[in-house]
Amino acid sequence: MILSFSLNGRPRRWECEPGANLRDLLRSKGLISVRNGCDGEGSCGLCAVIMDGKLVNSCMILAAEAEGRSVIAVEPDAEDPLLIIAQRSLIDAHCVQCGYCTPAVSLALRDLLARSPEPSDEEVRDALSGTLCRCTGYQQFLDAAHLASKRLRDPGYALEAGPAFKPEFRHIGKDREKVDARGLARGEAAFVEDRVTPDSLHLKVLGSPHAHAFVKSVDASAALAMSGVVKVIHTFNCPDKVYTTAGQGFPEPSPHDQRMFSRKVRFVGDRVAAVLAESPAEARAALAAIKVEYEILEPVLSIAQAKAPGAPLVHSGEVVYVAGEAPAGTSTRGDGRDDSITYQFPIGADPHRNLAASAHGGIGDVEAGFARADVVIERTYRGNRVQCTPMEPHVVYAKVDGGRLVLHASTQVSWHVRRIVSRVVGIPENKVRVIKERVGGGFGAKQDIVVEDIAGWLAWTTGKPVFFRYTREEEFFASRTRHAMDITVKMGARRDGTLTAIDMHVDADTGPYGQHCLTVPMNAVSKSLPLLICPNARFTVDSWYTNLSVAGAYQGYGAPKGSFAIQACLAELAVELGIDQLEMIEKNRVRSGTRIEILKSLGEGREGAAVDLGECGLGEMIERGKKAFNWDGTGRGGPLTQGSPTAQGGAKVVAAGEGDWKRGKGAVIVQQGSGLPGLDAANAEIRLLADGTLLLLSGGADLGTGLDTVTAKTAAEIMGLDLEDVTVISGDTDLTPFDKGAYASSGTYFSGNAALKAAEDLRTKVLAAAAEMLGEDPSTIRIGHRGRVIGSKGELKLGDIAHRTVEGEGFGELVGFGSFKTLHAAFPYGAHFAEVLVNTRTGEVKLERFHVYQDCGTPINPALAKGQIFGGVMKAVGHSLYEELLFDEKGRCLNPTFLDYKIPSINEVPRDFVVELVPVEDEIGPFGAKSVSEISLNGAAPAIAIAIHDATGVWVREYPFTPERLLRALGRLPGAGIKGKLP
């Protein structure tokens, strides 16, 4: 049919299928800013357009319905004045992170401004009520809306500058525009899906309907005979290469226990076969025609089942060690049917007991410590599986170009993708190029090679371009989740609150495969125990295989769950001792100059060592929070409407809530790392171009985090230039030097430091060249603003020097190179304060206030740093209150959609949401910077749990703290839930 309508004020006549939805039509015509985050549920709002003056989801509108209507959408050349104001305000308010949702947010604000030129906060929330964003935490959208409103009246209105740091620098510590923000806001091609050509083939995967089964046969004959089908692959016709999908430094601590298609499927949704076809519809139709015969096995659906004697084995094949010996007493002989597992080195595994990995360690004499305690408590805390839910699902576009395999990837780890894919495909690394496109949210899920292996192999073997994008449903059940963990903490203390001993045991559920199976649960220990000074501390970690969905990396790694257990247990102990919770923290926390002995046994894969902590800003952060929350004042100490045990336990009770609502407060301290010292490295290169501008080649992977802006600012600062003078190319394995990737809070610290070293190297070379040109010693020359190179005998411009570099008698192109590695551990610290209302009649929890006091060293770009923290906190709030992957008794995921896996929208943001940066410089970090993002996920669960107790007098030791869990804890609902699976 022919569709006539107006698009951005221009008449259009397009041919379309009558059943097509408007989103697909717009995208097919090149309007790529109309995104897809929910596959037509209508729950994400990323496909929004304004139709006849109303903001609507284009996925829920037939293209035919647009006949005769006016549609406004984001296009790079759109001229709509209101839209341009909205886009500019989003950029200036620093809330363009990954940018996948930015066009939709722009349209929502444009719609709002048209209706209400001076909107209230509530109107802004209403305007954005249908748009999901996982990066920003929504808070800065309010700033953007009010900025846009002011610009309606005063086009030149500038946002009031935020706090600035480091006055000696022009760019460092000051807010600058994110280098990719403009293009992302304007809807320019940036993501993998924007690169796909019409001749591409489409890849779809057949997932297992069983949680645990051998694949006995696959009959793909009918599928192969179907229209448009190019290839069908499965376990009986694919290469038998074993690998791990974990994007970690090689040799990985994760077992190699995955194949492209295994003889055995180990979770519902595990790969059974894949179809490559000319269209998505043809691929889907062919999947339905594949006949598979299974031998169904009993699944392992919990840690308890995995541990049980005689439990079914998730992996029963041979266990092979590349280096080292199998741990004593473990079994390595396979059953002859299942595929083998390869460990690069021993990690305490015994797969034939479902034990994927284990570790233990400690300091002092724990038993003696407990003997000296006046009070000892032991509690078990549970954190369930949560999904990363990047708004852009896993996606890759693979093609063969010039005899090489080229992957356009949405990844955090370009070099690990290259290494693993080259092994799977069976070609050397020089035949593989990985181009990291803009990433529509990663959050750890894209640290794994989830889609690149199979797409790469099919592209290479067929010679055809292959597009593979997970559906939202696949993203939920076949992507990567945070490990579920049961953590038992035993703590002892003297009557005055001094800790005498801590014993921490972590049971983690790694799911069917072992990526990150040791490192995530170890992180639960290594980022929580070192916060407390205790001479006697011990930990054990066991990571178990199950037949639930695949666990992996998630922002914060294992730290949020360890933090929940340790901080909540410390608060429980404070209540037992009758000590204020913050006094208990104050009594036992690390502080400047503390020698952290426990780090001797937490070496992150190498020999550990005690660390003498330098400056620590926890004291100031706690004080700021106490003041803001009136911790010691009249706000705490009033009686509750209904009695609380805490009323007798200390000054932990707030004034009564109204009716059923009770008010409570909680506070925690948190920490993280800044990359993996001794394990990882980053590199960067900066070229001085002929006109004096810079081309910065960074290996680092910007996931929307602003890393490219950090590196650009670094180069601009050192070379006396502006950000417009620096172009950053990053994460391209052909063009940029090696970088370990974006994980472990390493971006600013490692990749930023590499860029700094490259800039310093370039500066040295520039000064040497200038010295020759000016005829003076380099020590008398300096680089000033605007690229001026100032000597005692004269002055040059960077462009003058650059020109000399490329002419026949020149110096050769000036290139700075920087490589960074370190053994230094830089810990960011934070204090998080929460205030909640708990309805004791319904179990509902409202998060009223959340304050973050964060030491990230020098904030390179303060507003972007705050945006990272807002976003991290709101993810943690979602995990704490709403989010949990649920499974039935057969291991099937019950809520693989945004309709039933609820992530926070703007209306869940606490009305008093504050982030304050409290800089405490690190001596190694670039300009004194430390990491900023991951730590922000570590506080919400324990702070909210403590606040709930403060309000109600009950401890809830399993999160999310759903109304159902609250009611059970309050004794208002009998039983323990349904088989421990439902909330």
């Binding site: 009558p18 209508g42 929502a108 319904t842 929208s905």
Partner: protein, 310 residues
């Protein structure tokens, strides 16, 4: 998936199309998706013809495995809110947002519409579509059924919503809703409460109540519950349990609803699913019922004071 799109010129043509009369005027004008064989794709002959209002149901992924011929109602069904005497007449194509924006819509209905927090959806979802989908999580059915509204159908029939919901669910049986008529009901109180997991969520559980108070005694209670059966419906046995009682307090209502075993099984049956256990839903429903009854206000009164829903 939608395999054909019909844009009928008038109500008669729409009704004919939905009745499956292929030779109806304009039927040949349908735009159909072409399959490889040049015929309709997706088994068009077995495709169901369904009315298309706002499309939030028909065009959603929930319907992707359903072969549908969409019959667009836009332009054929009113999109307006008006007063006729003591009655409020709402066009079936009126969107949720338009309900909220209209000063003529009774506050209880506006509150129910506001329960659909997602503005993008409110801009498309229509009153008629919400009734036609007839889902357990319906935002509007509990309130409209409690208020005992009449429907004016496109074929000229006038039918109580309650009776209409008992008709076969095919368009052939139910026809097409043109307008909703809400009469002024002097002396009646009505209240509504819902529970959702987050703000932008469907109505996992919803309860609407309408009744008269005679000397503080409950009379003629109409109690409509969503989320505890396949559809949002009245529960006559539960209504009867209140008849003639002095208006109970909150605890008494909750105790009455959940019964001796705490399950509510005397009146409704809940199931375990990803949205909550059966026990939780029964407990929570009892609270919602108490709120709907106790926060009830005269129909034309101001906004609901309930902590739930709105």
């Amino acid at each position: 998936m939608t395999v054909a799109f019909h844009k009928p010129r008038d109500a008669a043509e729409a009704l004919a199309l939905l009745s499956g009369v292929d030779e109806a005027p304009g039927a040949d004008d349908a735009d159909r998706a072409k399959g490889a064989d040049g015929k309709g794709a997706g088994g068009i002959k077995s495709a169901r013809r369904l009315p298309l209002a706002g499309g939030t149901q028909l065009n959603s992924s929930e319907s992707r495995n359903l072969a549908v011929e969409a019959v667009a109602l836009d332009g054929l069904v009113p999109k307006s809110v008006e007063r006729q005497g003591s009655a409020t007449i709402i066009g079936a194509m009126t969107t949720f947002q338009e309900l909220i924006d209209s000063p003529m819509v009774p506050p209880i209905l506006a509150a129910a519409a506001r329960g659909m927090v997602d503005r993008n959806i409110r801009n498309r979802a229509t009153v008629g579509g919400n009734l036609g989908a007839d889902k357990s999580c319906s935002s509007l059915i509990p309130v409209l059924l409690a208020l005992d509204v009449d429907l004016l159908l496109l074929d000229g029939r006038r039918v109580r919503l309650e009776d209409w919901l008992e008709l076969p669910s095919e368009p052939k049986g139910r026809g097409i809703i043109s307008k909703i008529s809400m009469g002024g009901r002097e002396g009646w109180l009505s209240g509504y409460a819902r529970w959702s997991r987050v703000s932008a969520d469907l109505s996992v559980l919803g309860a609407a109540a309408a009744y008269r108070l005679e000397r503080n005694t409950v009379r003629d209670l109409r109690l409509v519950l969503g989320g505890v059966a396949a559809h949002a419906r009245r529960f006559p046995a539960l209504e009867a349990a209140f008849e003639g009682l002095p208006l109970p307090d909150r605890s008494a209502i909750e105790a009455l609803v959940v019964g001796h075993d705490g399950s509510g099984a005397s009146y409704f049956s809940t199931i375990d699913d990803a949205r909550g256990s059966a026990a939780f839903k029964s407990f929570r429903m009892a609270v919602l019922i108490a709120d709907a009854i106790l926060f009830a206000k005269p129909d034309e009164a101001g906004s609901l004071p309930t902590e739930e829903g709105a």
